[in-house]
């Protein structure tokens, strides 16, 4: 009987912890899974088609990198109760504030266009015309934000996050070789040697893992959710779980691409889905659904990141807990960003490839600045108190930030001058 009561006690305690986690869970999971957006799926598909399983180890390496960077936004948001844009304005003055805000607006809008490109390409496979996809997505995202509660928005976003797992059964359909996966994927190596092309693919994978909008989004989400200092451990756990899930999903996309698409030049995830449809109908369908979901999740988060940032600075009501009458400018900004980005995809002959490349260049200008500000803010003892970066965190984060700054700059240069790295 004592044994039974002990088991019951442990079960109820574990259940309480799980229930508590589900109350706190959200910003970390959503931002990390949304990181696998349409651009991210394209990058994974193209990398795995080029190098097979060869760079899976690199993707694994990016999991802790993403965690360490994003974890800082949890602490900063929970302690200051301010979004990232407001923290930059307050900490570094109006010049750096406007620079970050305008750059964020531009990079978010361009990234949103790429999400619409991914979503329209995915649904075109099922015969849905682009105008219908854009209209349906705008309507859906409108309904999601206009429910007037952050909690409901977050739980709906988490449901879409679950759809991201659709790549996992896809990997089982292709029957990958486990021994090849272990030997080629988990042991660090550069298939074909470390050359300009390899460098370009490594950079693209870093670029999809750490994006400027993620810093702004997670910190604002932490504030809108009302997280405080006591929630920081849960916020960290949430972020860690999110980074693990995003890494696992990425690996499964690598497995699908590395098994079936090896040797094919992939230019878009839509093209990859069509090719996979030819191999196996279910596989192609999973890929297309996953691509649509990835674009949708990206759109959900990116459009909000800008609106939150503008609301913080202009002093508008900027919470999802406000209805449209209480926060008209916040929602006007949200819908303006969404509708204009969607409209661009429908313009006949719009330079969509150029836009996709331009996103990477603009993101490169914002990312180093946002990361440097993040580290400096996390070292401000007056504001952060006991939650400031420790020496080990500073060393680790500085190495990560310096590496990202150098590599992402080189990536930006390689996009501007492609011949330089050939």
């Amino acid at each position: 009987m004592k044994w039974f009561s002990q088991i019951y006690y442990r079960y109820s305690k574990s259940w309480k912890i799980i229930k508590l986690y589900f109350l706190i869970a959200g910003p970390g999971l959503v931002v990390m899974i949304a990181d696998n957006d349409a651009g991210g799926i394209t990058t994974y598909a193209a990398t795995s088609a080029k190098y097979g399983y060869g760079l899976i180890w690199f993707l694994l390496l990016l999991v802790p990198v993403a965690y360490f960077v994003q974890e800082m936004t949890v602490r900063l948001g929970a302690v200051t109760k301010r979004g990232h844009a407001e923290a930059i304005f307050d900490g570094f003055g109006a010049f750096w504030g406007w620079f970050s805000l305008i750059d964020l607006m531009l990079v978010d809008w361009l990234t949103l266009v790429t999400e619409f490109i991914g979503m329209t390409a995915a649904l075109r496979i099922f015969g849905v015309p682009p105008y219908l996809t854009v209209a349906a997505v705008c309507l859906l995202l409108g309904v999601i934000v206009l429910n007037g509660r952050y909690w409901t928005w977050e739980k709906i976003a988490l449901v879409f996050c679950a759809f991201n797992l659709i790549y996992i059964p896809g990997a089982f359909i292709v029957h990958p070789s486990v021994s090849s996966l272990v030997h080629n994927g988990l042991i660090p190596n550069f298939p074909g040697g470390f050359n300009g092309e390899m460098f370009f693919y490594l950079m693209a994978n870093i670029g999809t893992t750490i994006a400027p909008w993620m810093l702004f989004f997670q910190q604002s989400a932490v504030v809108d959710k009302g997280m405080t200092e006591k929630d920081i451990p849960w916020g960290k756990f949430d972020t860690m779980l999110g980074s693990l899930v995003t890494g696992i999903v990425g690996i499964f996309i690598f497995i699908v691409g590395g098994t079936v698409l090896r040797g094919v030049d992939i230019e878009s995830a839509g093209q990859a889905s069509r090719l996979l449809m030819g191999v196996n109908r279910y596989l192609g369908t999973f890929m297309a659904i996953g691509l649509f979901d990835a674009g949708l999740l990206g759109a959900i988060c990116i459009s909000l990141a800008s609106s939150w940032a503008f609301g913080e600075i202009f002093g508008w009501a900027h919470s999802l807990n406000n209805n449209i009458k209480e926060a008209p400018w916040f929602y006007a900004n949200y819908f303006l960003t969404l509708l204009t980005a969607g409209a661009v995809v429908l313009i006949p002959g719009a330079p969509l490839v150029l836009i996709t490349l331009f996103v990477q260049v603009v993101a490169v200008t914002l990312l180093p600045a946002a990361l440097v500000f993040l580290i400096l803010l996390l070292n401000d003892e007056k504001t952060m108190g006991e939650y400031r970066n420790t020496r080990i965190q500073n060393i680790l984060n500085s190495v990560i930030v310096l590496t990202i700054v150098v590599l992402s700059s080189l990536y930006g240069v390689s996009v501007l001058f492609p011949k330089l790295f050939q």
Binding site: V372, L377, K382
Partner: protein, 57 residues
Amino acid sequence: MWKIVRRQFEKIGEINRKYSKPRIEMSAPVRWSLLLLRCYLLFLVGLMIFRFITLLH
């Protein structure tokens, strides 16, 4: 309409005044970091302008 635009411009002025002074203590490492960031961004903008001009030609 004009009123709304004027109000937003006034708001920008207000924001500039509110955040005119950085709150973070400008210690040597902070000042160096910001200086390096400015140099880096100028270099990047210079590259983009150079690329734009070479594309036009």
